[in-house]
């Protein structure tokens, strides 16, 4: 074998091993994630979680999210759009995974807004203004307050409610469930209990479309 052929054989061989290894490993991981989600159904949806959409909707998207996470901000309107395209068919359940520093305080704000029935407007307001109150990947709650003005919230009451122990319990439970389900990055989506095969909008859309199709019959 001449030198060039030898070199090219070596190169192609190594790359093939790498690609085969990658495919095998990701397939293996995917299988494990599906099994983990199936085995831990109870951890997926809790009574306390904020929900949007009809309770009878055939497709349930569970989203583990962090209000300070930029990708979560970018996905939020996309998910809303999907729900608008299929009215009454999709239900969104939000779970908190405040991985960013200070983000748990933002979650507490959202939960306190929920007591005043303003959760979704508050969430939209905070996500739209995210760049204002997240600095160097750390949430700064003191900068977030002003974005809650004008929503008709009683902010004094909100401050009192934020300290309520049930809110920290909700956050602790969500984080525990995230660990059980192996959620280490946000946002993480589960569509009717199935995790995304790999992260991305297209993957989410495919999974939702499949779920919608499966319910048509």
């Amino acid at each position: 074998m001449n030198h060039k052929t030898l070199f090219i054989t070596g190169l192609v061989g190594l790359l093939l091993v790498f690609i085969a290894g990658t495919l095998f490993y990701t397939a293996q991981k995917e299988k494990q994630a599906v099994q983990a989600a199936e085995a831990n159904r109870a951890s997926l949806v809790r009574m306390h979680s904020p929900k949007l959409g009809k309770a009878s909707a055939p497709v349930v998207i569970v989203e583990f999210f962090d209000p300070a996470c930029e990708t979560c901000r970018r996905f939020y309107p996309l998910v809303k759009q999907m729900m608008a395209q299929h009215p009454g068919k999709i239900r969104l359940v939000l779970r908190y995974t405040p991985f960013h520093g200070g983000s748990d305080q933002i979650v507490a704000m959202l939960e306190a807004s929920r007591k005043q029935h303003k959760f979704w407007p508050a969430l939209t307001a905070l996500l739209t203004s995210q760049a204002d109150w997240v600095q160097h990947h750390t949430a700064n709650p003191s900068l977030a307050w002003k974005h809650l003005e004008g929503l008709g919230l009683d902010l004094d009451q909100l401050r009192v409610d934020m300290a309520a122990p049930e809110i920290s319990q909700v956050i602790a439970q969500d984080i525990e469930d995230a660990q059980t389900l192996n959620v280490t990055k946000t946002p993480e989506f589960f569509v009717n209990g199935k995790p995304l095969p790999s992260f991305g909008y297209e993957q989410l859309k495919t999974l939702v479309d499949e779920a919608l199709k499966a319910t048509q019959y």
Partner: protein, 150 residues
């Protein structure tokens, strides 16, 4: 057409070529392995691992440049990389073994280098693989250096 003595004897160069090619195989396998750990398995990469990558990855490009056409000067460029990479890998392994005290540990943030993320068969760790790879490359290159004619 007369073959004069100034020509490098073909046989010896073939030997050196094969040695450098083998070193390239080891470097490429190590590079792909490191990428597999980092990008496919998403294992955290500590500071010392990054330094070892800095000395391993360039070999994948430099060595073939010296193979086509054969240029023994490539050994002079590649050996310092392999040598320094080897020293860092040894340092890393001593750190994991606990032979180097905590306070020299250069990583303050992120993943501590003294943490063991993989242990196969009870003794194979990533730093051990790195030491073996660098040692293998270094030995192959040194042999090639003495086997090839100047």
């Amino acid at each position: 057409m007369n073959t004069t003595k100034t020509y490098v004897p073909i046989r010896e160069n073939t030997k050196a070529w094969t040695l450098i090619f083998s070193a390239w195989l080891v470097a490429s396998a190590s590079t792909l392995g490191a990428l597999f750990f980092g990008e496919v398995m998403h294992l955290p990469t500590c500071v010392l691992c990054w330094y070892q990558r800095i000395f391993m990855f360039p070999l994948v490009l430099i060595l073939p440049i010296g193979l086509f056409p054969f240029d023994r000067n490539v050994l002079r460029y590649a050996m310092p990389l392999a040598g320094i990479g080897f020293l860092i890998a040894v340092f890393h392994m001593l750190l994991i073994a606990g032979l180097i005290p905590e306070n020299i540990k250069p990583c303050a943030q992120g993943v501590p280098c003294s943490e063991t993320v993989i242990e196969w068969f009870g003794f194979v760790t990533i730093p051990l693989l790195s030491v073996l790879a660098f040692l293998g490359i270094l030995l192959l290159l040194i042999t090639a250096y003495f086997r090839s004619s100047k």
